[in-house]
């Protein structure tokens, strides 16, 4: 067993603090971006108007119809449903992403130094699970940003990352330590890493499903001729495209969670002699799996797509949070040691 390096552990905590600070500035920038969105939207509207004018000059008689359609569409949704990057420069959003990258780098250093300080993988207790999980949320978000313009999610995601970091440091803080014998297994590396990764993906889809609900209410209201009170939601794609993307991410997370369950069962067999025993943690992992399985089926059931599916995705994530916080701390079970 490698000896502990407390000094490095303290550096790790310093990095955590720095990362949380940088995320906070990034959060402000993301919020600024949303607030400034009206200016961006005006630019887009102006461009659309210009294009209409041009087309009117070109086509003449046919144009009015197209123009009215375009303005009707522009009034509800501006963001591209495919979530690809548009031409407009959103300076605050760029600043926010740059800051998030910086924060994720510092955060990564914090996670790695923690692991080195303890001489093992940095997910042996709740503090480490949360800090590593938060880091993965940020990294996965940034990776998705390479392909798709999900910057509208930034406020949401970065806020969740900050909440996770604060919760870890305040409620679950644990200094660098060795693992109890029950956790000394290579299955800790496999089982928990997949659990953290799946949870990070579920965090992203939770944010998207919540936005989907807001957006679909707004769409319904606008379709009924209501007033658009949430103009910043114009930066967010349609409820439908949110649903489609979160479905894609959820399928990956579901496969990950299936592995979490399976590898957990294999480890349980090695440690306790049975692969399934309805321990509280096992129960909740199973419940989460079933809820997301229900979500996947809902997407294929008439009358259950859209809002209902989004609710299932949100309920699933709430179960993930419950499983991590309440079950770990207040329920007695074989997993109780993984706590504080």
């Amino acid at each position: 067993m490698t000896p502990l390096n407390q000094t490095l552990g303290q550096y790790s905590e310093l990095f955590m603090l720095l990362a949380a600070g940088t995320y906070t500035v990034a959060l402000i920038a993301f919020a600024w971006d949303l607030a400034k969105s009206s200016a961006t939207l005006k630019a887009i509207d102006a461009r659309a108007a210009r294009q209409q004018q041009e087309s009117r000059q070109l086509v003449g008689a046919g144009a009015p119809v197209a123009a009215s359609q375009a303005s009707a569409a522009g009034g509800t949704i501006t963001a591209d449903p495919s979530m690809r990057y548009a031409k407009e420069r959103r300076v605050p959003a760029r600043v926010a992403v740059a800051l998030t990258i910086l924060a994720a780098l510092i955060h990564g250093a914090a996670v790695i130094t923690r692991g080195v300080a303890a001489g093992r993988v940095p997910w042996g207790n709740m503090y480490e699970f949360l800090t590593t999980g938060a880091w993965l949320v940020a990294v996965v978000f940034l990776l998705v940003l390479l392909r798709r313009d999900l910057r509208f999610l930034g406020t949401f995601v970065v806020a969740l990352v900050i909440i996770m970091l604060v919760a870890a440091s305040v409620a679950f803080w644990t200094p660098v330590g060795h693992l109890v014998p029950a956790l000394q297994s290579y299955w800790l590396v496999i089982h928990v890493s997949i659990a953290v990764l799946s949870s990070a993906l579920f965090t992203l889809t939770f944010a998207m499903s919540a936005l989907q609900l807001v957006q679909s209410r707004r769409e319904a209201k606008l379709a009924a001729g209501g007033e658009d009170k949430l103009t910043f939601m114009r930066l967010v794609p349609t409820a439908l495209s949110l649903e489609n993307l979160s479905y894609r991410i959820n399928t990956i997370a579901f496969v990950g969670w299936t592995f979490t369950l399976m590898f957990g069962a294999i480890w349980a067999e090695k440690a306790w002699g049975r692969f399934w025993g309805w321990d509280t943690k096992e129960v909740w992992t199973f419940v989460i799996w079933v809820v997301y399985a229900g979500y996947l089926h809902a997407r294929a059931t008439r009358g259950w797509t859209g809002t209902r599916a989004a609710w299932l995705s949100i309920v699933g994530y709430l179960c993930v949070v419950f499983n991590f916080t309440i079950v770990n701390q207040f329920f007695n079970g074989l997993h109780s040691y993984s706590g504080l």
Partner: protein, 572 residues
């Protein structure tokens, strides 16, 4: 999976009174079956299963912790028995929980069988007819082969067929010699296979679990250093056989605990004294006459022996004690396991001495590995290591009740019919013994000596024949799941025709069955392959990004509703 039969309701039903067909008993059964195997019911059962599993984590469960359940009912005399009546202390074996999962699995099987049949048929029938207007498909495009190439409508179709075959489509060309030859193609049949394999494997997992319940067994035993456990029924402290268990299945191996080593964390501040290593050195023999083997048993590293797994699940201290009775004879000598109750191994002890004469003796109290006194003068353990081992006991004499034949817990002394000799409130006070010390009991009832200290381990022995099949089914299920989620089931159609000036016009279209976000990309790849084959420029066509976006868009706009409608009949 079939859609529900619409049942007229309310006013309408009354109006159409005569028109309602009378459902006979068979009709009712068929209706119930249709309901049960419908997608919506399956979904509701699935969600119900999630909800039903929750109470098992809220209330103590008998299979895991029978003592806690008894205590819970004692503490809640009003609600406890009611909860018990609804089987909330044994949720996962309860009638209602079983009902939900059995219905779910019946629904699942009722869904799998017709789908297997349907897919088998689909595999043997040709790709579907070409739609009249390919341009209506979510993915659509055209290509023009210049006259200079000398291609014909049928040769172009053959080229397109070759491209599709290379991309693993099943292709059927039609009207090959006609003016407007066309082809239908389909790929991704394995998607449905994956889906069916996934769901069938879940049934397999359930059957494997049942198999373990029928033919498996498990038992517990504590082994003190120097003791030997022999795998026979009498060798166990506790034994839970499966329904079909036969004692002849136990192979008579033996395990001797030579030494048990524990290491505690002495580095960190917050976790000081937390265990970081448990190692049991054991000698095993596969049978009475087999050669002994030295082996190591650790947490997370079980022993495989005689078709069973032997798991290290607990440990503690077993003080070695000598008790002499009132006549001066040794009535008990040996290690007595104590039950650790916390991280510093504050352990409860019960010593029963039925052989003591003239009166039987009993002791209850604590074993403290590192005894210290707090400000109130109460002894407590400061460390899990045996730095200053001490016994704190009360003593009793009388009839222990062991001769009556009623089963008793070894770790529990029933003092109802006993007279107390030592105790905090008695003039003789409690017994406090450091290692090597002897205490003479009052009234000449005998003496007790704390000779030394040994450690013991608690092991679980398990045999579960369902384990390997469950793992295999689970792995197959994941493979099926991944296939059904990420392989696209796609249909493609191509129609060609020759224009008057000798150019060959090609139109193609694609359609996905079920969720498929890769359809636009697939279409682009097919287009590129066709262009390369015919030496066409890929220049002026719509840029892939825009095409993809527009296509995504189009698919989405039409997608979920129509997709859901289709899926409703496809997935379970």
């Amino acid at each position: 999976m079939s859609e529900t039969v619409k049942k007229p309701k309310g006013k309408k039903a009354q109006e159409q009174d005569i028109a309602v067909p009378v459902l006979g008993p068979i009709g009712m059964l068929r209706w119930a079956w249709t309901q049960l195997t419908s997608m919506r019911t399956a979904l509701l059962l699935l969600l119900l299963l999630a909800v039903a599993a929750v109470p098992g984590s809220l209330f103590p469960q008998r299979p895991a912790n029978p003592a806690v359940v008894t205590q819970y009912i004692k503490n809640n005399p009003v609600t406890g028995p009611w909860l018990d009546r609804f089987q909330l202390f044994d949720v996962y074996a309860s009638y209602w929980f079983s009902a939900i999962y059995l219905l779910l699995f019946i629904s699942l099987i009722g869904c799998i069988i017709p789908r297997v049949r349907a897919h088998y048929k689909a595999l043997r029938t040709a790709p579907p007819r070409t739609p009249r207007r390919i341009s209506r498909l979510p993915q659509y495009g055209t290509l023009v082969i210049p006259a200079a190439q000398g291609a014909t409508a049928s040769s172009a179709l053959e080229d397109a067929a070759a491209v599709l075959r290379k991309r693993h489509y099943r292709v059927e060309t039609r009207d090959a010699g006609g003016e407007r030859p066309h082809l239908g193609a389909e790929t991704g049949y394995v998607r449905e296979v994956g889906n069916l394999v996934f769901h069938s494997s879940l049934v397999g997992v359930l059957v494997s679990v049942a198999l373990g319940g029928l033919f498996g067994y498990s038992g517990q035993r504590t082994i003190v250093e120097g003791e030997t456990f022999v795998n026979t029924l009498v060798g166990y402290d506790q034994f839970s056989p499966g329904t079909n268990f036969q004692s002849a299945w136990l192979s008579p191996y033996s395990v001797t605990l030579d030494k048990f080593e524990v290491r505690y964390d002495r580095e960190s501040v917050k976790q000081f004294g937390q265990p970081i290593d448990f190692t049991a050195h054991v000698t095993t023999k596969d049978g009475p006459d087999a050669a002994p083997k030295d082996q190591i048993l650790k947490v997370n590293d079980p022993l495989e022996i005689g078709g069973t797994g032997l798991y290290l699940v607990g440990n503690g201290y077993a003080p070695v004690i000598t008790v002499r009775d009132g006549n001066g004879n040794v009535a008990l000598q040996g290690p007595v396991p104590s039950i650790p109750t916390d991280g510093v191994y504050t352990s409860t002890m019960v010593v029963k001495v039925p052989d003591a004469k003239p009166d039987q003796l009993g002791f209850v109290g604590f074993f403290l590995p590192s005894a210290q006194l707090n400000e109130q003068g109460v002894a407590f353990s400061a460390d899990p290591d045996p730095l200053r081992p001490q016994l704190n006991l009360n003593s009793y004499y009388g009839d222990l009740g062991l001769d009556s034949g009623a089963p008793q817990n070894v770790y529990n002394l029933d003092v109802k019919n006993l007279k107390q000799l030592n105790g905090r409130d008695l003039p003789a006070k409690g017994i406090v013994l450091d290692a090597g010390q002897t205490y003479k009991l009052p009234e000449g009832k005998g003496s007790i000596t704390f000779d030394g200290l040994k450690r013991f381990i608690a092991v679980d022995v398990r045999h579960n024949p369902g384990q390997v099949p469950a793992l295999v089914f689970a792995l197959v299920a994941v493979a099926g799941l991944v296939t059904s989620l990420y392989v696209g089931r796609r249909r493609a159609w191509v129609r060609t025709g020759t224009a008057d000036d000798g150019r060959v016009m090609v139109e193609y279209g694609l359609l996905a069955r079920g969720e498929d976000h890769g359809l636009a990309k697939e279409t682009a790849k097919i287009r590129q392959a066709l262009q390369e084959g015919w030496g066409l420029d890929s220049g002026p066509v719509d840029p892939p990004g825009a095409a993809g976006a527009a296509a995504d868009n189009g698919k989405n706009a039409a997608g979920p509703d129509s997709g859901a409608a289709r899926n409703g009949k496809e997935s379970s």
